[in-house]
């Protein structure tokens, strides 16, 4: 095995609110100890409930948020402590795509200006070359050159998202964090964008972390799936492995809860009790114990370690072996 492209070791990100409260600062543990290796060309899907820290993790990896602790090594180089300036050269290789197509392009700049900006920032090529590159990238995502001088608001959500994707690829990055790039899109548009993502993934050699709360999308795009719950990784496995042998009770519930557009395949739903606890005040022991059907005393007190079962399948559950089928 090669050295991983990105090594994430026990990354934590806490948000401290120093709002109007006197005295103790409140602390939101958005990401609370997360480790993962991402290989070159590997596509990781990250799923989990809203507010479990997916976006925060994505941004922390790219050093857009300073990590509270832990290390992030990109091609062997620690990047988590780099200053805004020192980080610049790496920015070219680490890119991000955002969820909201209406917010991810500057409304005051034309599509061309927005597309050109990364090239300009890194002083790549002259004007003509840049324009060519932009047109080429836009072509790849199926946007014609007639759109170059449009403003974002003159385009549809799907088109904007495609532009955003094209822009993140324009510098030939090695690693991309895609933060729910399709969840704001309509079904019929979503498939267009997903197809483009998949095609790009085949034509360019890069890794990405695809954040989503929709497992079916992850299944369509990724090789490896990480399930997160309340700032922690609860399960991580290859796609096939995960979908065939979901082990953690949460993963199972998640899988069963997803409605399948097929009248004959109504799955037996596992309904979880209660809601996601607040990351400001996480439960002791296993973070999932408040909603778990199989909860024991141990779960309430001891935080389970990540166990590796069957190849690279990792699960954070005391009874992982028992649930593995």
């Amino acid at each position: 095995m090669d050295k991983p492209l990105l090594e994430i070791r026990d990354v934590k990100k806490y948000f401290y609110s120093d709002g109007i409260k006197v005295g103790k600062k409140q602390c939101v543990k958005a990401v609370d100890g997360f480790s993962l290796d991402i290989l070159k060309g590997e596509n990781v899907g990250l799923v989990g409930e809203s507010g479990c820290g997916k976006s925060t993790l994505g941004r922390t990896i790219l050093n857009l948020y300073p990590a509270t602790s832990g290390t992030i090594r990109y091609q062997g180089q620690n990047i988590e402590k780099l200053s805004f300036k020192k980080m610049r050269p790496y920015r070219r290789e680490l890119q991000m795509i955002f969820q909201d197509p209406y917010a991810s392009l500057n409304p005051r700049r034309t599509i061309f200006q927005s597309m050109e900006e990364p090239l300009e920032l890194f002083k790549l090529g002259d004007k003509g070359e840049r324009k060519e590159k932009v047109i080429e990238m836009l072509n790849e995502v199926g946007i014609g050159r007639e759109h170059l001088d449009k403003f974002p608001h003159e385009m549809s959500g799907g088109q904007r998202q495609r532009v955003a994707i094209a822009r993140s690829f324009i510098l030939d990055p090695k690693f991309i964090v895609a933060d729910e790039p399709v969840s704001a899109l309509d079904v019929s548009v979503r498939s267009q964008v997903l197809n483009i993502m998949r095609r790009l993934q085949e034509t360019h050699s890069f890794s990405y972390m695809f954040i989503s709360h929709d497992l079916s999308v992850v299944r369509y795009l990724c090789d490896k799936v990480v399930v997160m719950y309340l700032g922690k990784m609860v399960e991580c496995a290859d796609k096939k492995e995960l979908f065939e042998h979901p082990t953690h009770p949460y993963t199972r519930a998640l899988l069963s809860a997803i409605p399948i557009p097929d009248v004959h395949r109504r799955s037996e739903r596992i309904i979880l009790e209660g809601d996601l606890p607040s990351p400001a005040n996480p439960p002791t022991g296993c973070v999932f114990h408040t909603r778990c059907k199989y909860v024991t005393e141990e779960c309430k007190n001891v935080c389970p370690e990540l166990k590796t079962l069957h190849g690279s399948h990792q699960v954070a559950c005391h009874y992982a072996e028992k649930f593995y089928e």
Partner: protein, 294 residues
Amino acid sequence: MQEVVRTIKDTKLLIQKENFFQKFVKHKMATVAFMIIAIEVIIVFLGPVLFDIDPYFMDSSSLAKPPSSVHLLGTDDIGRDIFARMLYGGRISLAVGVCSTLISFIIGIPLGLCAGYFKGKVEFLVMRCVDIFQSFPGLIMILVLVAIFGSSVFSMIIMIGVMGWIQPAKIVYGATLSVCEKDFVESARSMGASHATILIRHILPNVLSPVWILIAFRVSGAIIMESSLSFLGAGIRPPQASWGNIINAAQNATVLATQPWIWLPAGIVLFVTIICINLIGEGVRDALDPKMKR
């Protein structure tokens, strides 16, 4: 809400094709107001050149005389031509309004921008300053300042300008906070743009629309402030004319009751100007922010 916002996005094709100017023109009152102000500015700035009149010249043969063919709007009690004084006063009033607003914005915008973008210490500092300026009435502060620096046009502009920086700063600060949340800022950062690039290219243009709206209201506020100061004897001082101090002749009951030509035109013009400027502000608001109006 959701629906409406979406609706706006849908109907955008209709709306967005119009540029700002076209949208502004749709607001009829604002357009009329704009024309009135434009005419006023032209008259006030070109008038003295064209008509060759002197606001300081005292026609001792005509003291406090009602409008006539020689003196279009009559003369004041020492024989100065009211029309000429109106024009010159207009220059000063408008200059005080516009220049002090300019100063307010020159101070306020960068501060608000930095406070909203850099957060932390800068934010704390700026917001404390805002607190300080906000918890003390500007009028009283300027009264104290006038006692020190006197009340020339220049110092008036500076003082009103400096006292007025909070509003733009706060608006820009608020807008910056919300724009900073937007993904395109994050995305610029993730592409390695420097702070300056982000601030100037990405944030500034997007926080300006509330600023445009504010301009009009600040200008009218500054004009009112100047005239109120004149009333308290701390504004623009004679012999220099400003609309504010021309109106102050009305403090004299005789003038108020029997010589309306001395103060009424300035009063009306001041009132109309402020209304027009406010209307322009409304028009700008509607044009920039279609949500407010259907």
